[in-house]
């Protein structure tokens, strides 16, 4: 072809609505009760280390990880455990939920001290002990990501600062105000994992963030362990999707069903990498989260520094309340976020935004016949043909699902967003993926 296909940008332009851009993080405390699920991540969770009536302190470990994949859970307040019980979480899974009544003192746990890090193993275990998971939204345990299976060499660290979802500006704000921490974190990762190149991908609608990062790189020029460069990418949803960002920055293509490690890349979000710098310096585990709170139903919007486990209901009150009845609460961005069923659910480790839509914004459009306009295919960053996948999924046609590469869909939702007939494309494709997985499992037996 005439153009370099791999790096051509494909996607959609949803209205950005980044009204909170540049707003400083406001620390919010004083939540009466917080609830911390013991599986805040992909993979198995933790077993409870506390029981009803136990006193806990800020940063105290309350959940012991089950298995190598899991990370521990920590309390974000000091106070007393009021209950430990199984409940349904916002993502539909069931887990132990530790409810802690805060004493308002925020007394720090004495055991918190900077970890002794000397080599890769101690670096990874320090990260694991901090409870760190991918903060960009996927909640994949970071220590697993940084420890690719044998035989896979990582030569490039990609830092995801694209933040392509509408509304969210928390990462932007992290890059503006914590650029030094980001560079420090990159240095640590590159040093212990022996990576020589780091690319930070930032969408070009965040010039201040790009400037802050470049300034930080220049001021640390002498101490850098790797060649770090900031790459400004075109503002286009879903540039921040892992596979897509890797393609734009490195021209490498992660295969269907593959991982970034297959092409020698590890991707970390800006929040994750800056937290790595913090935890190595202080040993303070992951108990707070930078969150953008926005949405048409809110009186005010802004960026907040919230304790993990704070009930969304109380967060809404604490940041100014709602001005109209809330019809939908989205955890994450409007394109890929999860609509939750109950506002008592807590803030999670990977919650990067809360969007409260009014009743009007919560309406789901009616679906009409596909008019075969091709907009869905033209907007698919993976160059799939969503209308065909949608049909195959509706007909439960496993052969077609395979032939059309259903597993290569990254569920970005661009196809559904653009469809003039308002078809539920990605929604059916998700069902198709499940059907395909089930069939593959059956075939493997």
């Amino acid at each position: 072809m005439f153009f370099k296909k791999t790096s051509r940008a494909i996607g959609v332009h949803p209205p950005q609505n980044k009204g909170t851009q540049g707003m400083a993080f406001v620390e919010v405390n004083g939540f009466k009760t917080i609830t911390i699920p013991l599986n805040l991540q992909v993979g198995p969770g933790c077993s409870a280390l506390v029981k009803k009536g136990d006193p806990v302190k800020v940063g105290q470990k309350i959940g012991e990880p089950l298995g190598h994949w899991s990370v521990p859970a920590h309390s974000s307040v000091s106070g007393t455990v009021v209950s430990v019980k199984k409940e349904i979480l916002s993502n539909g899974s069931v887990a132990d939920l530790v409810a802690i009544e805060s004493d308002g003192q925020q007394t720090l746990d004495e055991s918190i001290k900077p970890p002794a890090v000397t080599d890769k193993a101690s670096f990874l275990s320090a990260i694991r002990d901090s409870g760190l998971v991918g903060l960009g939204g996927a909640a994949f345990p970071t220590h697993v990501k940084l420890n690719p299976p044998d035989g896979k060499t990582i030569d490039t660290l990609v830092i995801n600062g694209a933040e392509c979802e509408p509304y969210i500006t928390a990462d932007d704000q992290i890059m503006r105000t914590r650029a030094d921490r980001i560079i420090k974190g990159i240095n640590l990762v590159c040093h212990y994992l022996d990576i020589s190149r780091c690319l930070i991908g930032v969408e070009d609608n965040k010039p201040e963030a790009i400037k802050a990062l470049n300034d930080a790189i220049n001021s640390h020029a002498g101490e850098l362990k790797a060649g770090i460069s900031v790459v400004s990418v075109k503002t286009l949803y879903p540039t921040g999707a892992e596979k897509v960002l890797i393609r734009y920055l490195t021209d490498r293509i992660v295969p269907e069903n593959g991982l970034p490690a297959d092409v020698g890349v590890v991707v970390l979000n800006v929040g994750t990498v800056s937290f790595i710098a913090d935890v190595i310096d202080t040993g303070m585990p992951l108990i707070r989260k930078f969150v953008t709170v926005d949405g048409s139903a809110m009186n005010r919007h802004g960026n907040y520094d919230l304790p993990i486990g704070a009930p969304i209901e109380d967060v809404i009150e604490a940041v100014g309340g709602a001005k109209e009845p809330i019809g939908k609460v989205i955890m994450g961005g409007p394109m890929m976020g999860v609509a939750i069923d109950d506002i008592r659910h807590p803030i999670l480790k990977h919650t990067n935004s809360l969007i409260m839509a009014g009743e009007k914004g919560a309406k789901i459009p009616k679906e009409w016949n596909c008019i075969h306009c091709g907009r869905c295919s033209r907007s698919c960053p993976m160059m799939l043909m969503p209308s065909e996948l949608d049909m195959a999924a509706r007909q439960e046609n496993i052969d077609e699902l395979r032939e059309f590469h259903v597993m290569n869909c990254i569920e970005c939702g661009s196809c559904t967003y653009v469809c003039p007939a308002k078809r539920y494309l990605v929604q059916n494709i998700r069902i198709g993926k499940n059907l395909y997985r089930q069939a593959a499992r059956k075939a493997a037996k």
């Binding site: 293509i253 269907e256 939908k328 789901i364 075969h372 993976m382 967003y417």
Partner: protein
């Protein structure tokens, strides 16, 4: 509190089927206005009747088939307008209504409504009318100031494709529509104006119209005809811009569109150059409509990073 829980994405683009079809209707207005000056008020009346019948037939057939009403998506208005544009202004009204019946009930709704038809409804309507009422469908009339006539009588003339030598219309005549033809096809300038609007609004891209027009022109040039004359005369522009680009019956991929356009162009050239009927645009598009599912299969996009499974 009642919270709406739905699967992402939670926002949708403002483009709807209705808006796209509405844009097509807007793009057709210049040609309709031109037809008033060329053929008089009868052209407008016939168009309105055709549109109204299409909308009515869609409404009633959806009602009878107990399906959701779809007339608000404006696609019946588009079909009606395009069908009317394919008719001579002097056509008896009942024939136009019959054409609307064929287009909407037989071609569109019997196949499942918008999106499910295999051929363009307006084209089939036109072809059926042409075969059933050949003489009425071929008596073109010109009236009014632009036509240069003084009287108010309808004057029957032939389309420029049937004329030859000195009789042939000039390029300017073709652009303005000072010649015989159907309601919507005569003024090339008005059709091109509508095309520009559709492209600017992102409703269509130029792949199909451009390849269609260029390949017809080249083919006619090879056969020793004047390519520009053949592009501007007859139903080529109306077909290339408004009928061949119908989403439902044309490919979605760029490659598919190019093949589709060239196919339409070559077939039109064959019909114009060798067949007895000078007008081949409708048949060309119809044949390519039928090819469309195959074109779609041959030109399917290749997903980035797809792994082929060994069965």
């Amino acid at each position: 509190m009642y919270l709406n829980v739905s699967s992402s994405p939670h926002i949708r683009d403002s483009v709807t089927t209705r808006r796209l079809m509405g844009d097509v209707v807007i793009a057709l207005i210049p040609a309709l206005v031109a037809s008033y000056f060329i053929f008089g008020v009868r052209a407008i009346i016939l168009t309105l009747i055709t549109v109204a019948s299409c909308v009515f037939f869609e409404w009633i057939s959806r009602l009878i088939m107990k399906r959701d009403n779809t007339i608000h998506d404006m696609s019946a208005v588009v079909t009606g307008t395009i069908l009317a544009f394919c008719l001579p202004a002097g056509l008896p009204v009942w024939m136009a209504i019959f054409g609307a019946f064929i287009a909407i009930v037989v071609v569109k709704e019997m196949f499942g409504g918008i999106g499910s038809n295999i051929a363009n409804p307006a084209i089939v309507g036109r072809i059926v009318l042409g075969m059933s009422f050949g003489s009425e469908m071929n008596s073109y009339s010109v009236i009014g100031t632009l036509a240069g006539e003084t009287g108010t009588d309808l004057v029957a003339t032939a389309t420029p494709l049937a004329l030859s030598g000195d009789q042939a219309a000039s390029y300017l005549d073709l652009l303005l529509g000072r010649h015989g033809g159907t309601i919507g096809e005569v003024s090339a300038a008005a059709l091109l104006l509508g095309c520009a609007y559709l492209v600017l609004r992102g409703v269509i891209d130029l792949w199909i119209p451009a390849t269609f027009v260029v390949s017809t022109g080249l083919f006619m040039w090879v056969l020793g005809h004047d390519p520009i004359y053949h592009v501007l005369a007859g139903g080529l522009l109306l077909g290339a811009i408004y009928m061949a680009t119908d989403y439902v019956t044309s490919p979605t991929t760029t490659k598919g569109k190019i093949i589709f356009g060239i196919g339409c162009g070559l077939l039109t050239g064959l019909f114009r150059g060798f067949a007895a009927s000078p007008e081949g645009v409708s048949f060309a598009i119809l044949l390519m409509n039928i090819m469309n599912p195959h074109l779609e299969r041959w030109t399917r996009l290749k997903t980035i990073g797809g792994v082929d499974y060994v069965a």
